[in-house]
């Protein structure tokens, strides 16, 4: 498997190299994602293209490994350094492992920002959070609590146990859970963003906690698998699957009643904003420093905190009333 992955990554890298130089004056911005073939990131790439069109002199290189590993991303970063891109905007699979490779990129004068899932401060110039972590942490438990007026047991189904962003959201969620009396967080399990493992973990939760009322899955693969497991157990309506998911992937599960509502920020906006930020830094139109404000086109501007991090916007809630308007968009 490892060999297969390195083969595929090597092919991807070769493809990147062959993509060839564009017109000399174009800024080449690489959008590096956790893994190719994930709907969320495909949508982010659409947003990046939109920003590129608006800016005019930008070429987007959308790339990433074929599975969610830090090793795969390091290979991609090294290839991007070799072809001297102007900026790298990355959603990281590991917050520390990528730092040396990204430092090397910055030493060569490449602008490096992280978005979605962050890199440690020494490995990037700024980090764009899709939303503030506090807001997301609060949002995921609120979605569960809103449908449980009498309280009850809820469990968390996360991605991998080392995923940066999921861990932070769960931590933030645990900080505010006392604001929701009666809501009892009984377990956190990890589905590694694999459909079959997440499905099995969800089945395990239903068995271990017969009184379970909700599963919170702050990951787009996990929420779909958990919703399917709940429908298959014929517990749609009894157990509400909620968390973070994409309307296109969740539409069927909202219809079946396995999920009453879920939230997500708009990934198109996220890719758009990341590109705008990378462009403004790479062209020296703005500087990443604590307290600084960096414009990001139609999304307004990003205000950085003392760790050079900023939040884009609030997550948006989807339920049966609006899902049909969004399921064909992302």
């Amino acid at each position: 498997m490892k060999l297969f992955k390195s083969l595929l990554t090597a092919t991807a890298v070769a493809a990147v190299c062959l993509a060839g130089p564009a017109q000399a004056e174009d800024k080449r911005i690489a959008l590096v994602v956790k893994a190719l073939g994930i709907g969320f990131f495909e949508a982010a790439a659409k947003g990046a293209e939109e920003a590129a069109k608006e800016l005019g002199d930008v070429e987007i290189i959308y790339t990433g490994p074929t599975d969610t590993t830090a090793e795969g991303q390091i290979e991609v970063i090294n290839a991007l350094i070799a072809q001297k891109v102007d900026a790298i905007a990355i959603s990281a699979n590991d917050q520390d492992a990528l730092v040396p490779a990204l430092k090397k990129a910055m030493d060569r004068g490449i602008t490096v920002i992280s978005w979605d899932s962050g890199v440690a401060p020494e490995g990037r110039q700024l980090h764009l959070n899709p939303s503030s972590n506090e807001l997301i942490g609060n949002m995921i438990i609120k979605l569960a609590a809103d449908n449980l007026p009498d309280g009850g047991d809820v469990a968390v189904l996360s991605a991998s146990a080392t995923a940066t962003n999921q861990n932070i959201w769960i931590e933030e969620m645990n900080k505010v859970k006392d604001n929701y009396p009666g809501i009892n967080v009984v377990a956190t399990v990890y589905g590694d963003d694999l459909a079959d493992k997440s499905y099995r973990e969800a089945q395990g939760l239903m068995q271990t906690y017969p009184d379970l009322k909700a599963i919170i899955a702050p990951t787009s693969v996990g929420i779909v698998a958990a919703a399917q497991a709940v429908s298959d157990a014929e517990k749609a309506g009894q157990i509400n699957v909620t968390g973070l998911g994409l309307p296109s992937e969740m539409a069927g599960h909202i219809d079946s009643g396995a999920s009453k509502s879920f939230a997500i920020w708009n990934p198109i906006d996220l890719g758009y904003s990341a590109t705008m930020l990378a462009y403004n830094l790479a062209t020296d139109k703005a500087e990443a420093k604590p307290g600084g404000e960096i414009p990001m086109g139609r999304m307004g501007s990003l205000t950085l905190n003392d760790k050079n991090e900023g939040a884009m916007a609030d997550p948006f809630t989807y339920d049966s009333s609006n899902i049909n308007d969004f399921k064909d968009i992302f």
């Binding site: 498997m1 297969f4 073939g37 089945q203 395990g204 992937e249 069927g252």
Partner: protein, 327 residues
Amino acid sequence: MTWSGWKSREVILAGAIVLLVGMIASRFPAFIAPSNLANVFNDTSPLIILALGQMVVIVTRCIDLSVAANLALTGMAVAMLNTAMPDLPVPFILAIAIGLGSLMGLLNGLLVWKLSIPPIVVTLGTMTIYRGVIFLISGGEWINAHEMSDSFKSFPRETILELPVLSWIAILVVLAFVVLVGRTALGRAFFAVGGNPHAAVYTGINVGQTQCAAYVISGALAGLTGYLWVARYAVAYVDIAGGFELEVVAACVIGGISIAGGIGSVGGALLGALFLGIVKNALPVINISPFWQLAISGSAIIIAVAFNATSSRSKGRVILKKAEHAT
């Protein structure tokens, strides 16, 4: 390998499974409820089907690392077909899935047979190619639950006599293999080719052709599982069943199928798959850290294999007693 030798190996493995289930039950009694055991069997069905296909390939001294990629590509292809033609009845989908899987298996088989490329290289290559093709045909997009038709998704879930169709298919495949391996010339040829290819040639068996047939069987089963997998999880994307080929090989090795070829049984493959399936299903419910889970499932495989290796090692025999004493 004598018939009684197989039996004792399987008895040991069956005993290990009973012990394992007993240990799980002491921590989580609901695990041994009949309905839960049925669930575990159902969840393990894809692994059982693929392990049987892999078994015949390994017995002929080959290996098929492309099963998971074949599964994913067939799954994506039938899911896309379903979105394009939602009214296509399930029997057609099944036929297409099996046909497509067989074709991919045939490609492996022909490369091994006609070009004599080492099997591990062939299937490593085709594995990458098949995954790559999924990217090409899907453009990296997911096929989601609401895009698939209801009949497409519900087929593996329909229950007949309390068991889902998915489980019944696994049972049928097991029965078919019992007949194939024990009662047909082809089944015996697999073992002849793996046990001693040169002797097999003298008995009139075409070694390459037999290996090719094993690949076609493995591919057909991977294709069948591809449809069942996608329908069961109601989602198709590039990376489904990523790394599953190693689990399939592990199930075979645990089941006492010799990587060197020539030795193996349907019962062994079945028990090996069940062993892994039980470990995978028990880990989430016995509530231990995810980091330990990986270590535990890994150790379980090594212990099982080590156990198998020691129990099957034939003792050396001193055939020149006098000469030994003389020196």
